[in-house]
């Protein structure tokens, strides 16, 4: 187990190096940050000064080398738009995103798994049809559309919740529901399928013949076996979740990494974009590691060493 974790931790830098390299190159070849950052009336001297300061006069690969050396020392450079170091800018937004994503995940996971179990136990009956229909509907709703619909209904028509922004727990509800709806349908459908599959396994028949109670069968035998596919799915979806948070944060004016990232991309603020990608990649890799560990704890067959 320990060796496995160490092995996985060692691959993180390679993954992240790759991600940072691709981001850097794509941003540099598609636009000139100087053009965007400086006032349109900027003098040639101003342009030259900034160009030199950003090493934009060097070949691309040298620029990347210089950049990487700085990154190794935790220095992502100065944000072009904020005129402050990039990493603290990103870290300052991390809290809001973690808050949003974790509430959304919790919501999606609890309701998804519960819904999936109910659908499986009531297979081909009304609850199953309803839940499956809901899942398909949820899956086909784009988040920006759902977000605006929720604002219209709960903030404008019913006046129960604020439209956007931060300040109280009420502000968190609509964005979290929107982001959760992104994952919830898949959780329902996957849980439903795996519960159905597990239910026909022989060890359940054995448990039942031993005289185990239905609740013990459910929580000690069925769930641990059914939950693993859901967990691996969760690991795979972390990237999509970040993508979803970009849209959700923008719609709901949630000051997290997602909205920072999209704005920085448009501003060609390379230091901030790369710092954000860096932090997000680490988060995704760590989340996947956590999923692997959880899985091997739940299911001894999955212990890798």
């Amino acid at each position: 187990m320990f060796a496995f974790i160490v092995r996985r931790l060692l691959t993180i830098p390679i993954t992240i190096l790759l991600v940072v390299f691709v981001t850097f190159i794509v941003l540099r070849v598609t636009g000139d940050p100087v053009q965007i950052y400086l006032d349109i009336n900027a003098t040639p001297e101003q342009t030259a000064l900034l160009r030199e300061r950003l090493h934009l006069d060097e070949p691309l690969i040298v620029q990347f080398g210089l950049f990487l050396w700085d990154v190794l020392r935790g220095d992502f450079g100065m944000s072009l738009q904020f005129a402050t170091p990039a990493l603290p800018v990103v870290l300052g937004r991390l809290g809001a995103t973690i808050q949003l994503v974790s509430v959304a995940l919790l919501f999606a996971f609890v309701f998804g798994v519960a819904g999936g179990i109910v659908a499986a136990l009531r297979k081909d009956r009304l609850p199953d049809f309803l839940l499956s229909a809901l899942a398909v509907a949820g899956q086909s709703m784009p988040s920006f559309w759902l977000g605006i619909l929720l604002i219209q209904t709960f903030a404008l028509d019913l006046k129960w919740l604020p439209t956007s922004g931060t300040g109280s727990w009420q502000h968190l509800i609509l964005p979290a529901v929107t982001l959760a709806t992104f994952l919830l349908p898949n959780f329902i459908l996957i849980t439903r399928t795996t519960v159905l599959e597990t239910r026909s396994e022989l060890f359940l028949t054995t448990a039942r013949s031993k005289g185990a109670s239905e609740s013990s069968i459910m929580f000690r035998h069925l769930l641990p076996n059914a939950i693993n596919p859901v967990l691996s799915f969760l690991g795979l979806q972390m990237g999509r979740l970040v993508g979803g948070s970009i849209i959700t944060e923008t719609i709901f004016a949630w000051p997290g990494i997602g909205s920072l990232m999209i704005r920085s991309i448009f501003q060609r603020d390379v230091p901030v974009v790369i710092a954000a990608v860096f932090i997000v990649s680490i988060a995704i890799v760590l989340a996947n590691l956590l999923v692997d560990i959880l899985q091997s704890l739940i299911d001894p067959r999955m212990r890798l060493d």
Binding site: T30, Q35, D39, S164, I251, A253, R268
Partner: protein, 507 residues
């Protein structure tokens, strides 16, 4: 007092409403002023005055003042300087306002002006608006309330340039340092900085000692809401009393809602479709004129801009700009004349062309480009619309190849100098060349005689009207949504919100 009770809300809401009435009655006597909530598209990325975006200047000018202020129509008026005069073509004398204090109570003096201008003009500074006052040679303190600014060349746009320069408190910056000033800006402005959460909110409290009179609200809270439909929802829900940057397609939603309304104001941005005149067919003025005549501008204006802003009067300048030529008229649609001109130029069967535009840079930009392309078809010109992303656009700018026609809006901030420069050769953005235009531009830039300048710009507009280096489309509007309970606020033509007179009527 109005309170809406919808049928479905039932008895409980009624009881709540009643108790709310009681509470309201109680608090009405206590609370006069309120906090004004403003939903903006984007907060500035930093409170550093060196950042030159409109968003940044809008925030800076809430807490700070410039020597020269602008009103909502863009006209300059005395700010921290009570009056000014050109002593000679290279020297300006500014008489500063007496009795103005910074938020910490320290009096504002000539030293603060010199400190600010010296900081900006230092050779290594990357201050965003530096070029607006770039021709200043030096600033001299004459006495506590008088400064003299010397320029390297006659510098007619100094006054309007100074309206973009917030004056910084020398004593404060020297004491706490630049970083601390950026983290907690201080000035002489109508509002006092309270807090700032990047990407989220910017909170201010009223400055009771403001020299133009204390603000009528207790404070202002700016909230960043990047998505336009959410911004509109926040206005309709009553969370914000002002929202900016409303896209055309959202206007009806707001207009249909109660207690809120939409107002548009013409900015100084003139939207153009610029021809690449270096290559056929646009090297021929007849073709350029024909395409100008092919476009039904009033129709596009009514449909795609909902009549907000203005149709340009056959020139690149908006009517609120110094240098605007009132004798010119918009070029009307005339398909027969256009066809005749094209035939004369040898393009009776038309040709293929394309319009380069960005998406979301200007109000309805892509829709306008598509509508124009559709109208070209009536004169047999087959135009595609090439939508490019900002990064690609900036590459095209550098390569000086924007395609046959490209959409661009040049802002003048009230003075022709800033807009007309883009059709001079030195700007690197022009394809069209005209010697007289260049001469007049240089002449207007090097005299402080207002009448002489006006004559030069008027003639330049005439030349452009004849030579049509671009299709003159619209003076773009800035569209604001406002709560009906708000008074004392007018939508500004320059995106700088003037809020010290704003007042929220009790419900």
């Amino acid at each position: 007092m109005k309170r809406k009770t919808s049928p479905r809300s039932g008895g409980l809401r009624g009881v709540l409403a009643l108790s709310a009435v009681g509470l309201w009655g109680l608090s009405a006597g206590l609370a006069g002023a309120q906090t004004l909530n403003v939903g903006v598209q984007g907060l500035p990325d930093s409170l550093d005055t060196a950042v030159s975006s409109f968003a940044a200047l809008n925030m800076a000018l809430q807490t700070m003042d410039a020597l020269v202020l602008r009103d909502d129509t863009g006209k300059t008026m005395p700010g921290l300087a009570e009056s000014w005069e050109a002593v000679d073509p290279l020297t300006w004398r500014f008489n500063l306002r007496d009795g103005v204090t910074f938020h910490d109570g320290t009096p504002f003096t000539a030293e603060d002006v010199k400190f600010t201008l010296d900081y900006i003009l230092a050779p290594d500074s990357v201050y965003g608006s530096k070029s607006r006052i770039g021709q200043i040679e030096s600033t001299a303190v004459v006495d506590e309330h008088t400064v003299e600014i010397t320029t390297t060349v006659p510098f007619p746009t100094l006054i309007i340039g100074l309206s973009d320069i917030p004056i910084e408190p020398k004593h404060y910056v020297e004491k706490v340092g630049r970083e601390a000033m950026i983290a907690a800006p201080m000035g002489t402005g109508p509002f006092v900085f309270e807090s700032w959460v990047p990407g989220d909110r910017y909170a201010l409290t009223a400055n009771p000692d403001y020299w133009q009179g204390a603000p009528k609200v207790e404070g202002v809270l700016f909230r960043q809401i990047p998505e336009a439909s959410t911004r509109a929802a926040s206005l309709i829900a009553g969370e914000n009393q002002i929202i900016e940057e409303i896209p055309i397609d959202i206007i009806p939603q707001i207009e249909q809602s109660e207690d809120v309304s939409v107002q548009g104001v013409e900015t100084t941005v003139g939207l153009l479709l610029t021809f690449d005149t270096r290559n056929p067919p646009y090297d021929d003025v007849r073709v350029r004129r024909a395409l100008n005549m092919a476009v039904n501008k009033p129709l596009i204006f009514d449909r795609l801009l909902q009549g907000k802003g203005a149709v340009l009067k056959g020139q690149m300048l908006t009517s609120n700009t110094f240098g605007f030529n009132p004798d010119l008229e918009e070029i009307p649609q005339d398909l027969e004349a256009a066809k005749a001109l094209l035939e004369e130029a040898g393009y009776a069967d038309g040709f293929d062309t394309s319009i380069t535009t960005r998406s979301g840079k200007y109000l309805s930009d892509v829709d306008i480009a598509s509508a124009v392309a559709g109208m070209f078809r009536d004169v047999n010109v087959n135009a595609g619309v090439n939508i490019v992303e900002q990064g690609v656009f900036s590459k095209m700018v550098q390569a000086r190849d924007m395609g046959p026609l490209h959409m661009v809006g040049w802002y003048s901030v009230g003075d022709a100098d800033f807009a007309t420069v883009w059709f001079t050769e030195d700007s690197g953005r022009a394809y069209w060349k005209n010697d007289e235009y260049e001469e007049l531009f240089t002449k207007a830039r090097s005299t402080v005689d207002e009448a002489e300048r006006l004559a030069a710009y008027n003639r330049m507009m005439e030349i452009m009207h004849e030579e049509v280096p671009a299709i003159f489309l619209f003076g773009l509007p800035s569209i604001y949504g406002m709560s009906d309970s708000l008074t004392g606020f007018e939508p500004p033509s320059d995106k700088i919100m003037r809020l010290w007179n704003a007042e929220i009527a009790a419900d």
